[in-house]
Symmetry: C2
Subunit: 276 residues, 2 copies
């Protein structure tokens, strides 16, 4: 136990809460930690709560009673979310991203941890109210997004592999049809990676018709698990609605069109604000 | 600009600094943001600095002068580091991790974002003083560790692929010999992923003889880039020293022996504290 002045206590409590999202912390933890009365702790928390909420940085939820405490729920405010999504659209529109075949180079964006953490915070905001046991993605490019989301929601990440690996133990494999090419692929998940009945948030970097994500949904069926939500960074708008395999998902940006000849990429915000 | 009381200002500044590691923030940024005198901001920073350093959570470096400001350097204190490494060793020793062939199941540990972030903070502590431009790993299992390290050091992550992907554009591929099986593999890096002369911190989840990491080192040569450091979560101690391809690296745990028959795994701390 250490006796701290209120000013130092506020700094420490802020740090303590920010590094423990979605965890219930009993007031007695703080009271014992700082040798302070619960009433002083409550006053401190009121100050922190106000700053967090003014900043659009998240909520402090207070639960009263013996089993009570305080929980930090990371949330990105509307203004910051708009700013982030506009920035994402702007960056995706840079014409030198166009690759042969009309593909888009995104690895520079996906390679920025701070950028990924912001995207993860957006997904954590969108799915904060749902009952979720874990975040799932398939290798490779969705991994940083899945971890960023898992970190903000304090949830483990389950990683689906393209091939069965010796380091995964016994696994369940399925075949799936990738919607855009109608080609057949395999994905595989370690038996011990996912408990039965889990509620799973699927996260990926890109979705066209949704074949890969539908593959993950099918894989969940093999584990008697269920989809709690789907979040994608970028969705392709170049899909006829009857081809789309999924209806219920959150996207941050929509790739409208890639004109390889004219070197123009048209990107719009995803359905994050408008919902589905 | 908003006028805040000192208590609220401390909460906000703490949050602001924690989310911007390794970034120089001019005092005027804070002074303008809160409509406060620089002298008050300096007093606030002194309080924050003391709490961070007492907690073993990192340093606040203050640079004087016109181009000056404050920089938060995340560091894990010795006590916390010891605790983390002991916890890692303990978890790795759980006998039900043993897979056929003497492999170890680690995906549950690698799937915990908070655990990965702590490991990343340890690497950030070990390499805080070096000049580094980016963090590199090869897919798949080292990715969360590389991002956690990149986030703490405020550096981008460069991802080496096993195969050349259409979404990566033109790429440089090399063959490498994986030391433990003496088998030949390919790895590939997008031309635009890495600038020439970059100083690169290589991070991976596991190292046996070091063939995969040596592959990344060779790949760096193709980009006229150099190794700034190597960090691995777990190294195998079952390697004769003449077989080891790398000498200079930081490991958090050493896998001494896996006795599949007796269901025993022997794990010891890596060279993090002892150095190489």
């Amino acid at each position: 136990m250490k006796k701290l002045k209120r000013s130092a206590r506020l700094v420490e409590m802020t740090q303590y809460l920010l590094t423990r999202p979605h965890q219930l912390i009993p007031l007695t933890t703080f009271a014992q930690r700082y040798g302070a009365a619960k009433s002083s702790i409550s006053e401190d928390l009121a100050i922190i709560k106000e700053v967090f909420e003014d900043e659009g940085n998240g909520e402090l939820q207070t639960l009263a009673g013996a089993a009570g405490g305080v929980k930090y729920i990371p949330k990105m405010g509307r203004e910051q979310a708009l700013q982030f999504i506009n920035q994402l659209c702007e960056k995706l529109s840079e014409p030198d991203r166009i690759l042969p075949g009309g593909y888009l180079y995104m690895s520079d964006l996906l390679g920025q941890p701070a950028f990924m953490n912001e995207a993860g915070k957006l997904f954590a905001t969108a799915f904060a109210g749902r009952a979720i046991d874990c975040v799932m993605t398939v290798e490779t490019k969705g991994i940083p997004l899945a971890y960023a989301t898992g970190a903000e929601l304090n949830l483990p990440v389950v990683l689906v592999r393209r091939d069965h690996q010796v380091t995964e133990g016994s696994a369940v494999s399925i075949n799936y049809v990738s919607g855009s090419h109608k080609s057949l692929h395999t994905m595989s998940l370690s038996r011990r990676a996912l408990k039965e009945k889990s509620r799973v948030l699927i996260v990926d970097d890109f979705m066209k018709a949704g074949g890969t994500i539908q593959g993950m949904v099918d894989l969940l069926g093999e584990f008697d698990a269920e989809v709690a939500g789907v979040g994608v960074l970028v969705e392709s708008g170049e899909v006829e609605s009857e081809q789309r395999l999924l209806e219920d998902y959150v996207s941050l940006a929509t790739l409208r069109a890639v004109d390889a000849k004219g070197k123009e990429i048209s990107v719009a915000p995803g359905n994050y604000f408008t919902g589905k």
